[in-house]
Symmetry: C2
Subunit: 419 residues, 2 copies
């Protein structure tokens, strides 16, 4: 951790962040409870909460009688304090969703991407149009939108430009999506990888709640993971950590679409499963798209020995892949998600656990629980929308702009010279 110098102001911001995060994530809570949970003094809690209420960030939400004494007043982050937008850029469509602070969905817009229109410009236009559209649809002024989170299927390099490398969109070279979006809207933009935003959603509202160390393992057409360490997303030096799908599982094995041999994705990704089935069976599983084909395969597991065999193998590979995560990250919890992961886990979770046990070290395995995700793949946009909220919480509710403005209004302090 890079420690930074601290001033009294940083202290206040930090305490505001602690308090606000507690109210948001574990609220509604009374001042008294907040005192205990944050170990701040009652005086500080009182002062800070008064500030929050003054700013419209927090509001009172009923009270709880306490036998004999003054009742506790419950506090929550005001759902109407502002709005956030989450965008899920998929391989076939762009989904834009508007939420209030409580993450209640207010409006939604969908833009199919034509396979021949994969240019970044088109995607950016869809996103910008979607922002306008959802705000109009819900009758919300854009100035109340705290931020837009955008999730992409690919590696998102953190940094000013917001470089996105998305092979499946044909963006091999790194598209400066951040710069492009900021040119089209005033709203603060946050960009991240879709697996990471889905992981964030599961951490806040799904199967990851209450843990500080978790890995959200996602299996769909692609295979990826979102790693959470000490309660925060693990990003590595350039934000591309967690590329689980392309770890080598079978040295020298099947060719993966990334070009390498033996990647996990080539075995447990939807395409990998279907390819292996076709190889074993002589012809493809029925189904218009991958999703229905996998569904058909799973449905056939009882009747078709080949399907059963292929899926059993898949479970074994998946377990070994999960074991790698357990050995390397030592999480409290593995959350298995993604549409294919959910489908497999729904039926074979005990077998997946057993396969992981076979390949992981005993001690870290015993410290890990393996569960299914709770939110489903649609939560990518929800997770993206949490990005500006997370920013707000980390800043203690002091929006950077507001903070800068406050400093400006206060102005350079003029000192009266001594006589």
């Amino acid at each position: 951790m890079v420690a930074r110098r601290a001033t009294v102001r940083d202290m206040r911001r930090s305490n505001r962040a602690v308090l606000l995060s507690k109210i948001y994530l574990d609220g509604p809570l009374s001042r008294h409870e907040l005192t205990q949970l944050t170990s701040l003094s009652p005086a500080s809690v009182s002062t800070l909460v008064a500030e929050f209420i003054e700013e419209g960030l927090v509001e009172e939400a009923g009270s709880v009688e306490s036998d004999g004494g003054r009742p506790r007043v419950l506090l929550r982050v005001a759902p109407s304090f502002g709005h956030v937008i989450g965008v899920d850029v998929g391989e076939t469509r762009v989904t834009v969703e508007l939420f209030d602070m409580s993450m209640a969905a207010l409006a939604k817009a969908d833009y199919p991407i034509e396979p021949n229109q994969l240019e970044p410009k088109v995607t950016v236009a869809h996103i910008l149009e979607g922002i306008t559209a959802v705000c109009a649809q819900a009758g919300v002024d854009q100035s109340t939108v705290l931020g837009v989170g955008v999730a992409f299927p690919g590696v998102v390099d953190s940094g000013e430009e917001g470089l996105v490398h998305a092979q499946h969109l044909g963006w091999a070279d790194g598209v400066p999506i951040g710069t492009m979006l900021r040119a089209g809207t005033q709203i603060p933009v946050h960009i991240d990888n879709g697996a990471k935003t889905l992981g964030q959603a599961e951490m806040w509202f799904g199967a990851g709640r209450g843990t500080q160390h978790a890995v959200i393992a996602l299996v769909g057409s692609g295979v990826g993971a979102a790693v959470v360490a000490d309660g925060a997303s693990y990003r590595g030096s350039r934000s591309s950590a967690g590329e689980w799908g392309h770890t080598t599982l079978v040295y020298g094995g099947r060719r993966c679409r990334c070009g390498a041999l033996g990647c996990l994705e080539a075995y447990v990704g939807a395409e990998g499963i279907l390819d292996r089935y076709r190889d074993a069976n002589g012809r493809s599983a029925p189904g218009i798209d991958e999703e229905s084909a996998i569904g058909a395969l799973i449905a056939a597991a009882d009747s078709s020995p080949t399907a059963s065999e292929v899926l059993n193998q898949t479970v074994g590979y998946l377990g070994a892949g999960i074991a790698t995560l357990i050995n390397l990250f030592n999480p409290e919890r593995i959350v298995l998600g993604g549409w294919a992961g959910t489908a497999l886990g729904g039926r074979w979770l005990p077998e997946i656990r057993a396969a992981a046990a076979k390949h992981a070290l005993k001690l870290p395995f015993a410290q890990t629980t393996i569960t299914l995700c709770e939110l489903g793949p649609d939560a990518v946009a929800l997770g993206a929308a949490t990005l500006p909220v997370a920013r707000l919480l980390a800043d203690g509710g002091l929006r950077p702009a507001a903070a800068a403005q406050a400093a400006l209004v206060r102005g350079p302090r003029v000192r009266i010279p001594p006589r």
Copy 2:
């Protein structure tokens, strides 16, 4: 990250920590330079440094002329402020080493472990005896020892008890080494895994210097890794993160000594290499122990096609294993170490890099440099000795005991009641 409430005192401790760490890790530095590097005000630097000097933590170390102005006075952490001890518990011996604050070695003691005397009690006795011995040898009073860091070959569960699970020592069940050691000495005890302490040494004094995200990949008889994220050791929920050796590399492959099939260690660990050579060659590589056998094998690479073949395969496996680290952790740097890793890397580093490139995703691979370690396996004890130093720096030089005592001396503040 778990944010905690902050008080003005926390602020001071934090600023002391920032300042002291800079002086220790990048020193000697002048107050002026510290002002720029920490972004603290000159006033604060001056005050804090005065405190450090008063406490004997920091001392002046010459000055640098500056053309025209007042010369800068250089500051460094006083080497004689205190001492630290590092202990390396290996499979065959216990090494205890005494250092001053500048990590200059002052004394050393060695205790061979007889194969039939693997009981924890014996090891603990060696450590305690070693502490006394090195202090006596160097004429150092034990009260000046800030702490003892002890490195074990196995999983070390953080927490009060200091549970150590070391299969190679026959300690399968978790031995409460922390409790046992604390019963025998007053000196604060820190316990960690040997790979992690070696990694720490490389980060501070070796090939990891200057990076915030690195993985120290260690290949010897066993295979492990020390992961550093954001400048701090990545531990996971229960400190056993980084068990690289038992990630599955060849699904269904060779049996590993951990019991699973296809672990990385079964292919690139010393035993794995020698076994594969024996399988290919029909008989074992010459050598009394693993280390000389591996040395002989590498020496024979030019003349023996079989040796060459086996080592080439090893390079391929190792590259794939490194690629897994790159994909999952997205480090700035991979440092290859361990005695076997150093030997292999010394000769085939370009080939290892190429093999990693073949198995890693292009983007994270391009962001990573792969280098050899600089310190050698003896640095385990050095790394262990950095644990108490790291503690001191993180606490801003306020030893917990001293801090508590200060609070005690100050006593409960008595308030004079108003008239």
